[in-house]
């Protein structure tokens, strides 16, 4: 049912299950269903979705609102579990995990970047970036070093003590990106990362994503904007809970 992907060298990927076992495929979704019970009616947000993502890919998931792309993003980000189907991330079968196990996966494997930044308003940029490390159980000295370094890498090394309301939108999003990257996750998962930014800042942020991709990070951007999606190297189009199209564009 699902498609096999060609990698950049044009070689055929092994079968999906093998991918998980060999660990080459970072993400593997196999026959994923997400069904919501609305009274007596069943609403299928995702219908039999299967795909895989390799390490180092730059992927955009695009679709109109109500297409199921948000549901898909929540599943990829381990914020939710599928009704049916198997989902592996970095060799972990997460579709059957408990809440606390999912929390650990979110902490170790996923770096979220949200449309509205989702920074803690009362905390400094540094503390915001430290949060994933705190929940990873890292000691304060090491944490400080890493958070400093992450902020420096997004060119905010001189703004560590600022609170979100003292930063511009672009700076806030860069803090959020630093926070997403600080724990060296398997994937950077961005949900409409430029949705709340002006066009000039959007360009900056997209350039930052390209830089991060060039440095070897695996990036998945969920968006409804074609301009954003076109920056990616591969685009998956979702409609009515199904993958309508999955193509490499670069």
């Amino acid at each position: 049912m699902y498609k096999f992907m060609d990698d950049e060298n044009g070689e055929r990927q092994p079968a999906a299950t093998d991918t998980a076992q060999t660990g080459e495929g970072l993400i593997l979704m196999k026959n994923i269903w997400k069904t919501y019970q609305m009274g007596v009616e069943e609403l299928h947000a995702l219908r039999d979705v299967s795909f895989s993502v390799n390490k180092g890919e730059y992927l955009a998931i695009i679709g109109p609102s109500g297409s199921g792309k948000s549901t898909l993003m929540n599943l990829i980000g381990c914020l939710d579990s599928p009704t049916k189907g198997d989902y592996w991330i970095n060799g972990n079968l997460v579709s059957t995990m408990t809440d606390d196990e999912l929390a650990r996966i979110r902490n170790k494997e996923i770096g979220f970047v949200f449309q509205t930044f989702n920074l803690l308003a009362r905390a400094t940029a540094l503390h915001n970036v430290e949060l994933p490390l705190i929940y990873a159980g890292m000691g304060s000295g090491e944490r400080y070093e890493k958070a400093q370094a992450a902020l420096a890498s997004v060119e905010l090394g001189d703004r560590v003590g600022h609170k979100p309301n003292e930063l511009s939108g672009g700076q806030r999003q860069r803090v959020a990106i630093a926070r997403a990257l600080v724990n060296h996750p398997s994937i950077l998962l961005a949900d409409e990362p430029t949705g709340a930014l002006d066009s000039k800042t959007s360009v900056e942020i997209m350039a930052l994503f390209e830089k991060l991709h060039a440095e070897g990070n695996t990036i998945i951007i969920v968006t409804h904007e074609h301009e954003v999606a076109e920056r990616a190297h591969r685009v998956i189009t979702i409609r009515d809970g199904r993958i309508e199209n999955d193509e490499k564009i670069k």
Partner: protein
């Protein structure tokens, strides 16, 4: 996240809503303050009485005409007045001749207020009573200067007086009372000694007295009748034999009064235990009732904390969502909110404790000394923190159980 970090997080959340936190804590503060004030008064009162008992002599007992029980109501008083004869010096001789356990026993006569004069100075309402010389040893009377009576002075009814410091201060402002004359009802007495000051007991001055040898007192004031009733003070050789001495005194008195077995005593024996027992019976229940009221305040305080924590969870749903998306487990969120409730409440306890300490200082100054034992302070903080944690349990559980997607969607 470790202890100090969770604590820091809790403090910053509390600090972010200073006024609200304070208002939330009012119930807790009032509860803890009221509780600690009542408790400190109770403690102060107890140690005050213990101290005074120790001052009287912890191993002395008193044989007197009436028992505490006789004062229950007017019927028992009337009955006791009919049955219980006044004690006599012959009773004392009877005991002295037969006792083996009582190491010393002496008679005193009840005093009443009289006017004392010395030269042109006079002092009204001074308690004048009589005592045998042995009382000085039994009651371990501390002599400030001069001496207590001798046996010779008592036997011969010499007109000598042992006085309290208030009397000396008033009548001999220069402090030279020794060897001087004081006059009571026109009869002169020579001052032979002054007792070390004892202060006041229940607001009554203890140093405004003149004590005369028992025989002198009896012959100059018209015998040991009415308010000048005789009573005996006894002691044992050691604390171990004290109860045996009291038992023996009772047995001897019953023999002397020829009471049948099972018949009620026609006299009273007062021991330090009886005094503290009386205190407990009067104040024990009262204080339990009084302590119940602050407990209600604590419960109300806990409900307020639970309410405000529910508000906090709702307000910070987004924060919870963010934390969960970054890898916070349910236990992390639960701990964060429990800590916040506990810390909030412990701060209330601390403020309450400080207030209670201040009120205690005022009470100590004007009424009776109050004491907040260190363990009570620790318990107050501990209990308020525990109350806070208990109150925070449900809100924290709600927060921990939030669905991360729903939580992230919140404003």
């Amino acid at each position: 996240m470790n202890f100090s970090e969770t604590l820091k997080l809790a403090l910053s959340a509390i600090w972010a809503h200073k006024l609200r936190s304070f208002l939330t804590l009012l119930g807790m503060i009032i509860g803890v303050t009221a509780f600690m004030v009542v408790f400190s008064v109770l403690q102060g009162f107890n140690s005050y009485i213990d101290e005074k008992i120790a001052g009287i002599g912890s191993n002395t007992f008193t044989i007197q005409r009436f028992n505490f029980d006789d004062f229950k109501d007017s019927d028992t008083i009337a009955e006791a007045q009919r049955r219980n004869k006044e004690l006599t010096l012959d009773d004392l001789e009877y005991i002295r001749a037969r006792t083996q356990m009582i190491s010393a026993i002496g008679a005193k006569a009840g005093g009443n207020g009289r006017t004392i004069r010395a030269g042109s100075n006079s002092m009204e309402g001074v308690t004048v009573d009589g005592a045998e010389p042995i009382i000085g040893e039994i009651e371990k009377i501390d002599v400030l200067k001069g001496r207590y009576f001798t046996q010779v002075e008592n036997t011969n009814g010499l007109r000598v007086a042992f006085i309290g410091t208030d009397v000396e201060d008033k009548l001999f402002p220069r402090g030279d009372s020794l060897g001087q004359e004081i006059t009571i009802s026109g009869i002169p007495y020579r001052v032979i000694g002054v007792r070390v000051a004892k202060g006041t007991v229940f607001g009554r001055p203890m140093d405004s007295f003149v004590q005369l040898p028992l025989k002198t007192f009896g012959s100059n004031f018209g015998g040991f009748r009415g308010s000048r009733y005789l009573y005996f003070v006894g002691t044992s050789a050691s604390d171990e034999t004290f109860d045996a001495a009291v038992d023996e005194a009772r047995t001897l008195m019953r023999l002397r009064r020829q009471l049948e077995p099972g018949e009620k005593d026609t006299f009273g024996i007062v021991t330090p235990d009886a005094i503290s027992g009386l205190r407990d019976s009067i104040f024990g229940t009262t204080f339990i009732v009084i302590l119940f009221v602050p407990t209600i305040a604590l419960v109300v305080g806990a409900i307020v904390i639970m309410n405000i924590m529910l508000v906090a969870v709702t307000e910070r749903t987004k924060e919870i969502g963010i934390r969960k998306s970054l890898g916070a487990r349910q236990a992390d969120i639960l701990r964060q909110f429990l800590f916040e409730a506990g810390t909030l409440s412990a701060i209330g306890g601390l403020i309450g404790l400080i207030l209670a300490e201040l009120i205690g200082l005022v009470i100590s100054h004007y009424l009776i000394p109050t004491v907040i034992p260190w363990y009570a302070a620790v318990i107050a903080i501990g209990v308020s923190a525990a109350v806070g944690v208990a109150a925070g349990l449900f809100p924290a559980w709600k927060a921990a159980r939030l669905d991360p997607i729903e939580a992230l969607r919140a404003d």
